[in-house]
């Protein structure tokens, strides 16, 4: 641990083909992680339970040693730095507070350990308490607080000592819905104020998309996709990304590829319906026989009148209308299966509607592997 990180170092965090397996475990916890975060970047990591998100965070904090590859902080291998010199502020998912200490002492402990003067410690503790809105809990024992309050204490602790790398493991998982947006903004503001590198682990897609500069989607320890929130949301490269980011608004339709014409026209069989489709975007030369088409509820157009005769239009019967604040998600029974369609007005169950597929095309995926294989515009029905 000869190296040391100074405040002048341009902080960056880099994973170079990192793989890690827990001792005694059969499978690798993470494999082939490869990305770089520069100063001021906030990366939100999303994935199902057991996908390796927490392991990724532990590797970044230098708490685990990779079996292959390197994790570097400002160019130094993270293990060459003593823990206190890594400048990593960690908010753990489980038991994030020091038991037996008051809330104020929890926040003050890292400051005192760094030899900061008592008067400054008091001031910083006050500011940190204020920023997360827990001034009234200052003298309470931290381990006697509720889960949400503890997470705010943990957040206040890292705010107090202003680390250059923030590692936040589901910091809002137990927080009340009412204060969640405020704390989410606070995380982003703190990140901006510190110009830090932030790793933000969450299972809430909306949180990840709202505050991240880039989103990393993980599954089975591998990075499925990394990119800007817009990229990842609009152009998912895998069905699991669709599942995680689109949630309840995702429509997934099974289809069989019957043939591809030399001009790029694709003939599909969706249930009993034969549909002519045009490739808007193709990945790879050959299409798999079984594919899945995925599109969001808001991409489908609802209405009795036709907008574009060249696009697939299906009659459907409303099964139920789910209220979503500004509108409704209608679950409709159609010839290609149940479709979720966004509507600003409520429809009564049993009502017949027309659903039109989008002109921009819809994503298609290999049904077996889940990998993206391009985009299709569904056209007219084949007689």
């Amino acid at each position: 641990m000869g190296a040391s990180l100074t405040n002048q170092d341009a902080v960056s965090l880099e994973f170079q083909d990192v793989s890690f397996r827990y001792p005694g475990a059969e499978h690798t916890a993470v494999a082939g992680l490869d990305f770089r975060l520069d100063r001021g970047e906030l990366l939100a990591c999303i994935g199902p339970s057991g996908s390796g998100k927490t392991t990724l965070l532990r590797l970044a904090a230098g708490l685990e040693v990779p079996h292959r590859g390197r994790v570097t902080v400002a160019g130094h291998s993270v293990h060459e730095l003593a823990p206190a010199e890594r400048q990593v502020g960690l908010v753990a998912q489980e038991s994030p507070v020091y038991p037996g200490l008051s809330v104020a002492d929890n926040i003050a402990l890292p400051l005192r350990s760094r030899g900061i003067a008592a008067s400054q410690v008091r001031e910083r503790v006050r500011q940190a308490l204020e920023s997360v809105g827990i001034e009234h809990l200052s003298e309470k024992r931290a381990d006697r607080l509720s889960g949400g309050e503890r997470q705010r204490v943990a957040l206040a602790r890292v705010l107090g000592w202003s680390p250059q790398i923030l590692c936040l493991d589901e910091p809002l998982s137990s927080v009340d819905a009412a204060i969640r947006p405020g704390l989410l903004r606070l995380i982003r503001d703190t990140h901006d104020r510190l110009s830090s590198v932030t790793l933000f682990i969450t299972h809430v897609a909306a949180d990840a998309l709202a505050i991240a500069d880039r989103v990393l989607v993980m599954r089975d320890g591998r990075q499925l996709q990394i990119g800007s929130p817009q990229e990842v949301y609009r152009a998912p490269v895998h069905l699991d990304v669709v599942r995680l980011l689109w949630g309840g608004s995702a429509n997934r339709l099974q289809a069989r590829v019957l043939g591809v014409t030399p001009s790029g026209e694709v003939e599909l069989l969706m249930r009993e319906l034969r549909v002519q489709a045009a490739a808007v975007e193709r990945i790879g030369h050959a299409l798999p026989e079984q594919i899945e088409l995925a599109l969001r509820a808001e991409e489908l157009v609802l209405g009795p009148g036709s907008i574009d005769e060249r696009l697939l239009r299906l009659p459907a019967r409303v099964l139920r209308a789910l209220y979503h604040g500004e509108g409704y998600i209608l679950e409709c029974d159609s010839a290609v299966g149940i479709l979720a369609v966004w509507s600003i007005s409520k429809c009564t169950p049993g009502e017949c509607v027309q659903i039109q597929f989008p002109p921009g095309g819809i994503r298609m995926f290999d049904a077996a592997s889940g990998a993206s294989c391009g985009k299709l515009r569904l056209g007219a029905q084949v007689a």
Binding site: Y22, P23, G24, A61, L63, P83, A84, R86, V88, G89, L90, A92, E94, S95, P96, Y98, P99, G100, L101, D105, L109, P110, R112, S113, R114, R157, W161
Partner: protein
């Protein structure tokens, strides 16, 4: 409202519990009663439930003289033995805690082969005493540690060591380890991590281990007999000496047994009070 079936099963459970308590405590109670009986009452057949209590056995045990030719010939030396037992048990427990607690904590942190190692350590307690007594005696003679407090404390400490190690090593410490990791990133020194996190978290386990080690030494007879001598005679060895050529001194045996039990009961009673535990496990934070 409870059904009849639930009431019957609850009553049966209580009766079973009472029977178990009676089974454990009755012999002890009978011995305590015996210790307050005169020789005639103690040896009466059938046993006397109603009798004139006397402190004669205790006076005799703790060095006083009683007008009874039958037992006055016995040189008791019990108070010294009791003090010596206490000193040796205290030293043994301290030794076991000082060596065993860090060892137990390290084993608790092991990610692999933890249970194999614990089985091996606990296995040392399963060995028949006669198997290990000879090599230990040979070593004690070579090191001139026979008939000495230190020699016996070392051996008793070694006997208590597996108990402390196992009690500490089986503690669930994953939360503690996460907190330590966080503390190290927060710049908290290792010494302070121990003061603020490790010691308070493991204190109850260490205390339980210390109690077991203390009791293991307090009750130990065989090594005390073999390694002891003229100077070093612990309470169990002295107690065994009450079986003389003229018969077992039942009154003295009962009084000595009671005297040996009282400190143990007191220690266990005090240490299991929640208030004591709370005050002892409170985190200490230097400001």
């Amino acid at each position: 409202m409870f059904s009849i079936r639930e009431r019957v099963s609850s009553a049966a459970g209580r009766m079973l519990l009472c029977a178990a308590v009676f089974w454990s405590v009755a012999p002890l109670g009978w011995f305590v009663i015996q210790s307050f009986k005169s020789r005639a009452d103690a040896l009466a057949v059938p046993p006397r439930v109603l009798f004139q209590p006397t402190l004669r056995n205790y006076i005799q045990l703790f060095g006083g003289t009683v007008p009874d030719d039958y037992t006055s010939s016995v040189t008791v030396g019990f108070p010294q033995a009791l003090g010596l037992s206490f000193l040796i048990a205290l030293l043994a427990a301290t030794l076991a805690v000082v060596v065993g607690s860090p060892a137990g904590y390290l084993i608790a942190r092991m990610r692999r082969r933890r249970w194999d190692l614990l089985g091996l350590i606990l296995g040392t307690r399963m060995l028949p005493v006669v198997v290990v007594v000879m090599p230990i005696l040979a070593m004690a003679i070579a090191a001139s540690l026979t008939d000495s407090v230190l020699g016996l404390a070392l051996v008793h400490g070694a006997l208590g060591l597996p108990l402390v190690i196992v009690v500490v090593a089986v503690q669930p410490i994953s939360v503690l380890e996460r907190l330590r990791e966080q503390a190290s990133l927060d710049g908290v020194s290792v010494a302070r991590q121990f003061a603020v996190l490790v010691v308070p978290a493991l204190f109850p386990a260490v205390l339980a281990g210390a109690m077991l080690a203390f009791l293991s030494s307090w009750n130990e007879f065989f090594f005390a007999l073999v390694l002891g001598g003229e100077q070093i005679r612990t309470a169990p060895v002295v107690l065994a000496g009450f079986q003389t050529l003229r018969g077992v001194q039942w009154g003295l045996v009962a009084a000595a047994s009671t005297a040996m039990i009282v400190p143990v009961v007191l220690v266990v009673f005090l240490l299991t009070r929640p208030m004591v535990w709370r005050s002892m496990t409170r985190t200490w934070v230097p400001r």
